[in-house]
């Protein structure tokens, strides 16, 4: 067991973590942040996507099922529950997902939203083809892809104009 300190959604966490525990396990089972989903457990579907910023680094989307929690020392993690940093409201990406019905069953949705936020972090105005490439690691069996593209484009416009 290793003592690991990291920040989850703005709250400092210090946990004793076994070497094989994934960030997904810790989020879901230790911190009860069940918005992050387990679907394949081996980095194939994207349902467990969260945002991870290493110490002094930029945040990016990671598959939490493939991320060992002990490697998160000093990092900041953002899950779907903490996406709206102001708290209590919703992020423009979440609003755009609602407005465009980019949600069917909703199981892959948290991962989709966080992958889309990570995309806009790096590319504020992605083309449709850039969205397709960036989001192809997030599977949706209900087939919300057309609506997700619309939502990401709108969120990009809204964030560019100050949200």
């Amino acid at each position: 067991m290793t003592n690991v300190s990291f920040d989850v959604n703005g709250i400092a966490q210090a946990l004793e973590i076994a070497g094989h525990e994934t960030l997904l396990d810790v989020l879901r089972d230790r911190l009860s942040l069940t918005g992050t989903k387990l679907s394949c457990g081996r980095g194939e579907c994207g349902a467990c996507t969260v945002l991870l910023a290493p110490p002094n680094g930029r945040r990016r989307a990671v598959y939490s099922c493939l991320t060992l929690a002990v490697a998160c020392e000093g990092s900041s993690v953002t899950t779907i529950e903490g996406l709206d940093a102001k708290g209590g409201g919703t992020h423009p990406m979440q609003q755009a997902f609602i407005a465009h019905d980019a949600v069917q069953c909703g199981f892959c949705t948290p991962g989709q939203i966080l992958a889309a936020v990570a995309l806009l972090d790096q590319n504020a105005a992605p083309s449709e083809s850039e969205i397709r490439t960036a989001m192809s690691g997030n599977l949706c069996r209900c087939g919300t892809y057309p609506k997700i593209i619309l939502a990401v484009q709108e969120a990009g416009r809204r964030l560019a104009s100050g949200g």
């Binding site: 069940t34 679907s39 997902f97 407005a99 019905d101 199981f107 490439t133 989001m135 069996r141 087939g143």
Partner: protein, 769 residues
């Protein structure tokens, strides 16, 4: 009729028609015909549970946390056929955190789709043999890996050919075909008609075994309190799950409560208690703790159902003018170890006017996981054979594919010789062709070079989607004027919560913002049928409407007292009751509630019988344009136009989402998806989401899906029919017909992976040489 309380009525569920005895509702609301003005129904109301889903607060089955809950892992067979000689769980029980195991002798008589739970005779790789339960999932997984299983391995038969060979090992005790195989259905004399036909085409088609691959696997959390059982389950049928559990554990229905709040997709595979449900319940009873059993991805891919693979030998006979005279299908359908008999044959009897039709279906058992319903089971497979053969016939006749289909347009239900409640397939052809630009040629010069060829194709759709009784709903107005819709039912991601709220808001005259829908609890809510067979809106919708109208009648009685106006003079809209001719004399729902104090206005509704001797069908026509890389064989779908007739559309945006989703699943079926087996070993080779390819965002074509205007008030008084399944039916044949158009070579086997396309091209050039 008027004095009869109960009548017999026919209800079609996934191609199977049942007769049900049903109580006639106390009153029948006037039909919402197409010309009735609508305030809330027909609006793109945002999905009512979207906020919970985008914020991660929606609780799915695996998110349910109970105090002291234990976790489960399943020990599975690693061979396709054999007999367990040793199942040693000693080491498993020694893993720290393990609290107990569940074995064959503790689940006597509990059967699920694949047969007796923990059967020690292995009939497919992945069959559950035992389960272990621990304080963490990690400990349970380790313990399952520590189980020692010794097996006497037998020869297996994992393909239809192997299972039908003379010396094949037996999959089921009575043999390797179903007892009623071959299932023959016929009208007229198809053999004689084939002999006298002026043109005959004969083809063979193959469709693969495909896997539902819902993002959320099957799972349950079970908790006993005394002799009362509560189960949280990812299910399309809370009431089916309840009755399955009551039967398996010898309980009364009052002792079982099944809750489904959110679920991560079903697509047909989650229609009742599953192995995971029984395991969770049995372990929770044995260990006196709440128990979660959620399948891992591999378990989900190998033992939670699949779409049967088929081989279809099709013969069509016609006159030179295109009149169909004979349709003959001989099909083999691979069931795995179990399932029900969907079969590709039915659509051959339904889709076209033809006096002579015969389908012969042989259902073959193999040493693979059991079949389960999968979005339009049978029709998806059958439409591929039939609609590709229709195009082959059109080519033989030098006729336009749509002209051939219109020539054989079925004006009434051919199979059962009865009227349709409504049928606008002709409008789907016309409007779809117009939007697609059918009749103009897809020029390969549009494509990058001579290496890429483009083609166009289309296909027709029909699917029994009228729903039916029994289903019940309660609508109640609270003292602040808000409205609750209470009905059992399930929202799989379809939008049922939103659709019911819209129907109730329309019927009671409320603002949609004042209405919520409460679903998914067998203990607290009225019965509805499973959410399968594109049934939910057409089955439950009329019950919700009736309940809301019943509540409105009471609301109007109260308002009439307050406004000193006759009830007949009142109308309600946007949560305000007013006099039709004196709109200034008005009172809000909230004001009425305030005056009545804690009185609750409650309306009851039920789904009435279906019309006699009437076929209730949804229809559609789909068009595809593809580009094929002649060098690699890769097919890209460029665009899909989908024209659908599903009666009245309650929420156009949600309906469009359903169309797009079904079309994407159809593209997966057409191009990528296929369970691959190692035939010598009998093992599945791709039970992961990396190796089993479902469409990604990169595979998305331009989709233009729409509905032809309609309200089918012969079907039910809301005018809606189902729309979840129809849009997957035509996708694969439309794409295959487009590929054939591009190549000038027929492609008759799915999925159209690059090597299949290249093989078709090579076969063709070999034949030409």
């Amino acid at each position: 009729m008027a004095d009869k309380r109960f009548v017999a009525t026919k209800v079609e569920v996934e191609g199977r028609e049942e007769t049900r005895i049903v109580e006639i509702p106390a009153f029948e609301p006037a039909p919402w015909t197409a010309d009735v003005p609508m305030d809330v129904v027909g609006q793109c109301v945002p999905r009512m549970d979207a906020l919970e889903k985008v914020t991660g607060s929606a609780v799915f089955t695996a998110d349910v946390q109970r105090a002291g809950m234990l976790y489960t892992a399943i020990v599975r067979a690693s061979v396709a056929h054999g007999r367990v000689t040793t199942l040693d769980l000693t080491a498993a029980l020694e893993v720290p955190g393990v609290r107990g195991v569940l074995q064959r002798d503790e689940v006597e008589g509990i059967r699920y789709d694949s047969g007796q739970l923990f059967d020690q005779t292995i009939r497919f790789a992945g069959q559950p043999l035992a389960a272990v339960c621990a304080e963490t999932q990690d400990a349970a997984d380790r313990a399952a890996r520590a189980a020692i299983v010794r097996v006497d391995v037998d020869r297996h038969a994992v393909t239809a050919n192997a299972a039908l060979a003379p010396d094949a090992p037996k999959v089921r005790s009575h043999g390797n075909t179903s007892k009623h195989s071959p299932r023959i259905a016929q009208r007229g004399d198809a053999d004689a008609a084939l002999r006298t036909a002026e043109v005959v085409v004969e083809r063979e088609y193959r469709t693969p075994t495909v896997l539902h691959t819902a993002m959320e696997p099957h799972g349950a959390v079970a908790e006993w309190s005394g002799d009362h059982l509560t189960v949280w389950e990812s299910t399309q049928g809370i009431f089916n799950t309840r009755s399955d559990l009551a039967e398996a554990f010898g309980l009364k229905l009052t002792q079982v409560r099944v809750i489904k709040d959110y679920m991560g997709g079903g697509f047909g595979a989650k229609n009742g208690a599953a192995a995971s449900t029984y395991i969770a319940v049995a372990l929770a009873r044995k260990l006196a703790c709440p128990v979660r059993c959620v399948l891992d991805r591999e378990g989900e891919q190998v033992d939670s159902g699949n779409r049967s693979s088929t081989s279809q030998r099709v013969r069509l006979g016609a006159m030179r003018d295109g009149t169909l005279t004979a349709m003959v299908l001989d099909a083999e359908i691979v069931m795995g170890v179990g399932g029900w008999f969907a079969g590709p044959g039915k659509i051959y009897h339904e889709l076209y006017a033809c006096p002579n039709v015969r389908t012969t279906e042989t259902f073959v058992y193999t040493h693979t996981g059991a079949m389960a319903s999968f979005r339009a089971p049978g029709h998806v497979e059958g439409a591929f054979g039939l609609e590709c053969a229709m195009d082959a016939l059109a080519r033989a006749l030098r006729m336009d594919p749509i002209e051939l289909r219109l020539k054989n347009y079925a004006k009434h239900d051919q199979e059962k010789d009865r009227r349709y409640s409504d049928k606008r397939l002709d409008e789907c052809y016309r409007l779809g062709a117009e939007r697609f630009g059918w009749g103009t040629k897809a020029f390969s010069t549009d494509a990058k070079s001579a290496r890429f060829k483009r083609g166009r194709g289309m296909a027709s759709i029909g699917w029994g989607a009228g729903g039916g009784p029994p289903s019940y709903a309660t609508v109640r107005m609270n003292s602040d004027g808000t409205v609750d819709v209470l009905t059992g039912s399930q929202d799989l991601g379809t939008g049922a919560r939103t659709v019911f709220a819209q129907i109730a808001a329309e019927a009671i005259g409320a603002s949609i913002h004042d209405v919520r829908t409460i679903l998914g609890d067998t203990e607290r809510l009225p019965y509805t049928s499973n959410s399968w067979g594109s049934q939910t809106t057409a089955s439950v919708g009329p019950a919700v409407r009736m309940a809301a109208e019943d509540a409105r009648a009471k609301l109007f009685e109260a308002a009439a007292q307050i406004l000193e106006a006759p009830v007949e003079a009142l109308e309600a809209r946007q949560s305000v009751v007013r006099m039709r001719d004196h709109p200034e004399r008005a009172i809000t729902f909230a004001q009425i509630g305030e005056k009545l104090r804690n009185v609750m206005l409650i309306g009851q509704g039920s789904r009435g019988p279906n019309p006699d001797k009437t076929a209730l069908f949804a229809f559609g026509a789909q068009f595809a344009e593809v580009e094929v890389d002649l060098e690699t064989g890769q097919v890209r779908v460029l665009r899909i136009v989908a024209a659908h007739d599903s009666g009245r559309i309650i929420n156009p945006r949600l309906a469009e989402s359903q169309l797009e989703g079904a079309i994407l699943q159809g593209i997966g079926f057409a191009l990528f998806e296929e369970r691959v087996l190692d035939e010598p070993l009998g093992l599945p080779l791709n039970p992961t989401m990396h190796d089993y390819k479902i469409p990604t965002m990169s595979d998305l074509p331009a989709i233009d899906g729409f509905f032809v205007p309609s309200s089918d008030t012969v079907a039910n008084h809301v005018g809606a029919k189902g729309l979840a399944e129809p849009p997957i039916i035509g996708v694969a044949p439309a794409i295959a017909n487009a590929v054939t158009d591009a190549l000038g070579v027929e492609v008759n086997e799915l999925p159209l992976t690059p090597w299949r396309v290249v093989s078709a091209l090579n076969r063709d050039s070999a034949e030409r040489a």
